[in-house]
Symmetry: C2
Subunit: 424 residues, 2 copies
């Protein structure tokens, strides 16, 4: 029932209508999926299932942090412009190799930034504070203390130091850190497998060649699939099913067996054809966590658990389905991947200035679609009006703004938080 009315008729009290906050609270209580081991090269975007401690120190040898000369600091004590210290240059440290000769009292070795400190040396004199006398001797015009211009073993990362915490979503720079400490593999939470099902007698698969009269192409399977991928989920079965209880039950049964999450759209309107609920009743042990959310649009949202599996019922209207996915299903998928505070530290948000007034009706949180424009870093959010059945308005919107339940609208110029439908 892709286009069932989402009118304002009251939802019967016996139904489990929840607030948006209650839904997010439930999602946050879900346990992550089990852990698996992946190579560090493939770990970007995955979520750590364990704290990572450094199996080796960085650096694992004392390194020069400046171009100059490796010396024994005591040989430079008291050195100055007027009374430079004279040192014999016994060689040059090559990058990536141990020095061939130790630095003994009265001697120095040329060393590049990053070079390995020779035995005997305990500091580096910057080249700026030296004068070559001849090919084999320099004058040092400023003293150094032991450790000056040297990164000691473990100065950057100590052996056994905790460098990254469980629950961290790995970014490219975190992968770099893992590479630096010699990690080849890392334990991360498994990504959820997601089945996507659209129901409705009027719905045909988008690839249908000649559209029969009365039918419309399904949109939600494509949109939801793209959103699932962006949220780190793995898309499995994608299917369009007619409003037939037995068929829907069979499809759901198969989908639940092979996936962690099933996302249904359509059929969940609190109305004449509430197939999703009827299907759930056929699964023993299924637990209806929410039947309706007090937001507009999105009222007919369903959330159920079936053992370890999760079933979401989204409104059939594509715009409503996108909003509900962004607000609840995305945090759920992130949470299953082990992200801490999914839905709390919502990263896909922008602050923007409202371009026009948004009227709103007291009594239910309004999720109003907006388009963003960027004028030299200053973001403006323009409400996208038009019937939510209109497909053309779908791609005009970048995200939504929430007008809270007890607010009667927002004025132009207000700074608002825009929840993005997708990563930019």
């Amino acid at each position: 029932m892709q286009l069932l009315s989402e009118g304002d008729e009251p939802v019967p009290e016996f139904l489990k209508v929840k607030t948006a906050e209650e839904i997010v609270e439930m999602v946050r209580s879900f346990a992550p999926l089990e852990a698996e081991i992946v190579s560090v090269q493939e770990a970007s975007g995955r979520v750590l299932a364990e704290d990572v401690t450094a199996p080796e120190p960085v650096p694992h040898f004392a390194r020069a942090t400046m171009d100059g000369y490796a010396v024994r600091a005591r040989d430079t004590f008291g050195a100055g412009e007027s009374l430079p210290a004279l040192l014999e240059v016994i060689g040059e440290v090559a990058m990536g190799r141990p020095a061939e000769t130790a630095v003994r009292p009265g001697t120095a070795a040329a060393i590049p930034t990053g070079g390995m400190l020779p035995d005997g040396a305990d500091a580096v004199v910057m080249v700026e504070y030296t004068q070559p006398l001849d090919a084999h001797a320099i004058e040092v015009t400023r003293p150094v203390a032991p450790g000056d211009n040297v990164l000691q073993v473990g100065d950057d990362v100590a052996l056994g130091e905790k460098v990254l915490e469980r629950g961290r979503k790995l970014r490219p720079q975190d992968v770099g850190l893992l590479a630096a400490i010699g990690m080849e593999e890392v334990r991360v939470f498994r990504r959820p497998r997601v089945a996507i099902i659209s129901t409705g007698d009027e719905i045909v698969p988008p690839e249908t060649r000649d559209l029969p009269p009365g039918k419309i192409r399904d949109i939600n399977t494509y949109v939801v699939a793209s959103q699932v991928r962006e949220a780190g989920g793995r898309v499995g079965t994608i299917q369009v099913v007619a409003d037939d209880l037995d068929e829907l039950e069979a499809v759901c049964r198969e989908a639940l067996a092979a996936h962690d999450v099933v996302v249904l759209s359509g059929g969940s309107s609190v109305g004449i054809r509430d197939f999703t609920i009827q299907v759930l009743e056929r699964f023993p042990g299924s637990e209806l966590l929410a039947h309706g959310v007090a937001i507009r649009p999105g009222k007919p949202t369903i959330l159920a658990r079936l053992g370890e599996k999760i079933l979401w019922g989204l409104p059939g209207q594509p715009a409503s389905a996108m909003i509900v996915f962004t607000a609840f299903v995305r945090p759920c998928l992130l949470r299953l991947q082990g992200v801490e505070n999914a839905g709390n530290l919502e990263t896909n948000v922008r602050q923007a200035e409202l371009a026009r007034n948004i009227p709103s009706v007291h009594g239910r949180a309004d999720y109003v679609r907006v388009s963003l424009s960027n004028d030299k870093g200053r973001l403006t959010a323009d409400p996208v009006f038009g019937k939510s059945a209109m497909i053309s308005t779908l791609s005009k919107a970048d995200g939504y703004v929430i007008v809270p339940e007890h607010v009667e609208g927002l004025e132009a110029g207000t700074l608002v938080t825009v929840h993005l439908f997708s990563s930019p």
Copy 2:
């Protein structure tokens, strides 16, 4: 030379030192790669290579936008509470199917939201404004005009209407729109193939088991590979090469043959071992577009064209390489994928309040790494200090803030633009 000094010694004038703005300007002038055809299902994140016009109208039949009765509007003219119009109900429109009977004068057909308007009907009376008299008749208590509560053919998307423009990076909602108009395939720009090469005598591949003294694990190949993937590029060859001119030339030659872009890191410091420039000199027809950028860090950046191919030389310091990648290579990869205004409409930015003062030296743009924290949507940017050779600081940073050339630092509390290293 991963850890060559990026000191402050002046760059000789004959070198092609550019400002950050000049680099971005050059990148913006690059032509996108050729187009290819992909299925709409796989099109999310890709960039349109042509305007898309609707091959069919949406809806392709007149649809009810409310639950109610399909009627001939003239039959309701003058109807009201006191004088309702009496209509015979001749049937019910089923979802997804043409009506079986036409609506003749004096009759009506029950119709659900989204149902197909029967022949003869030109409006829908909302169920709220009707009263059933018996099973076969209703009273209409409010008149409708022709077209009321009906979405006409093409009202949402007209046949031949331009719905999406060339250069648009397709988001899930755009894919939904393409599905709605029956597109199965779409022309998008090809994604660039990117080779990643790290040079330096002290560098060993990250997966090296026992780290020899004087050597460090390569980090840049892993970080750059993750960043390339995030920017939509396809990672090809990944290689670590010693500072050997002939070997580097051979590796670059192979990489240029099989990729659109080669990203070298290390070896590009304007210093003693400027292998990248020497390698470029061995390729006839290579054009050095930039040898140095007036930002800190990032000074030793190289940009060259070799026919259709692009070569970037990044500084060897991982933190510097990340900054240069984010500022220039990422916009370049986006531009090759056909994104308009890459580097101008930079979407991976956040406004944040600076937590501490940032001192800066007059005369060069400072790119200062910051970590972000989020307190109820209010972002704070905290500068990450510490030697840029320190790997441990790498993963503490979320992005960078630019202190412009002629500004001597930024004060705590300033609202700054943070350029993110990666999508959150």
